[in-house]
């Protein structure tokens, strides 16, 4: 094996992540799972209200191409005190658009530690694990963890109701 091949073998795998802020708490998400970042002002005209949504964390949806994405308030999802959100992350291969306060920075993680099995609550769905950056621990979110199948069913019903109301008005 030549030197460069050996170096390649031992090179730690890394992953590009976006550090984002929600109510003062820092989270990380794989940049590969974020399709697009838009400002809240930018999408205000496109978002549709879901008056019959029984999920407090989701109040609006947005149509993108042939699919609907539900706008999840990240602060309410994590049980944090909501602050005015400024950005929306459209998450790839999910039905979630995530309302966050802001982006801290983009960086690289080289290690992800699975959540200890002592953690037994919903956080097992929320996080892929924990990473350390600059001697601080940052939870790495699971893009599919913001809406469960049950929640999606509720939201689809709310969307149908909103669509029917819209059709009646027209």
């Amino acid at each position: 094996m030549n030197l460069s091949a050996r170096e390649k073998t031992h090179q730690p795998r890394t992953e590009q992540i976006i550090l984002f802020r929600v109510s003062g708490q820092i989270f990380a998400i794989s940049s590969a799972s974020v399709q697009e970042v838009r400002s809240v002002d930018n999408i205000a005209g496109m978002a549709r209200e879901l008056p019959e949504s029984h999920l407090t964390k989701v109040r609006h949806s947005i149509r993108r191409g042939d699919r609907t994405q539900y706008i999840v308030n990240a602060a309410l999802h994590f049980g944090l005190k909501p602050q005015p959100a400024s950005l929306v992350f459209f998450l790839r291969r999910t039905r979630t658009a995530l309302l966050v306060d802001g982006i801290e920075k983009m960086t690289t993680m080289s290690r992800l530690q699975a959540l200890s099995l002592a953690f037994q609550g919903e956080e097992r769905n929320w996080y892929r694990g924990l990473t350390t950056l600059d001697q601080a621990v940052v939870p790495v979110v699971h893009p599919e963890g913001f809406l469960s199948l049950e929640e999606l069913t509720i939201l689809e019903a709310a969307q149908l109701a909103a669509d029917a109301q819209g059709a009646q008005v027209q």
């Binding site: 730690p12 795998r13 890394t14 992953e15 708490q25 989270f27 794989s30 590969a32 994590f78 049980g79 944090l80 993680m109 080289s110 290690r111 992800l112 530690q113 699975a114 959540l115 200890s116 099995l117 002592a118 953690f119 037994q120 609550g121 919903e122 956080e123 929320w126 892929r128 694990g129 924990l130 350390t132 001697q135 601080a136 621990v137 940052v138 939870p139």
Partner: protein, 159 residues
């Protein structure tokens, strides 16, 4: 000490939680460390406070004092890093303690049917009767589950 008695003697770590002392089998104790920053993040496991960083490893912090003594600890002098079993696998958990710990060699009396689930057994030491703790009954976590690899390069390899 007779050979038969010697065979039953085990090592235990005595830990202090407020006014009371408890014991853990020494084989379950990894380390006693000075209190360090607890990293908190949103979660729904009320018994846990967050995690501490120890040699690059993130260890869940669980204060068991309130369950055992009815009071939260006023002062935390150390964190006892202990092995918590999850079925046939194990992971570390960090338990805040309020005083020095002591290693003793003594014979344990097995817990009886009327003892609380968190009591593994009883020790008699220096005129005190001390509970030997069963961590799996005191700290959250499943009894049987496969533990994910504690350290990964990262979870999803994308090449």
């Amino acid at each position: 000490m007779t050979a038969a008695l010697e065979a039953n003697v085990q090592s235990f770590v005595l830990l202090r939680l407020g006014e009371r002392r408890f014991a853990l089998p020494a084989s379950q104790v990894a380390e006693l460390v000075a209190p360090s920053r607890i990293f908190r993040f949103p979660h729904k496991s009320p018994a846990l406070e967050g995690v501490i960083l120890r040699r690059g490893r993130m260890i869940a912090v669980c204060d068991v004092a309130e369950q055992l003594t009815g009071k939260k600890l006023d002062t935390r002098r150390f964190y006892l890093l202990a092995t918590r079993k999850y079925g046939n696998q194990s992971d570390w958990i960090s338990i805040p303690v309020s005083g020095e710990c002591e290693l003793i060699n003594v014979e344990m009396m097995e817990a009886g049917a009327n003892d609380s689930p968190h009591v593994e057994g009883w020790l008699s030491h220096a005129g005190e009767v001390i509970e030997v703790l069963r961590l799996s009954a005191l700290t959250p976590g499943p009894a049987e589950e496969h533990l994910p690899a504690p350290l990964q390069d990262f979870a999803e390899a994308r090449t």
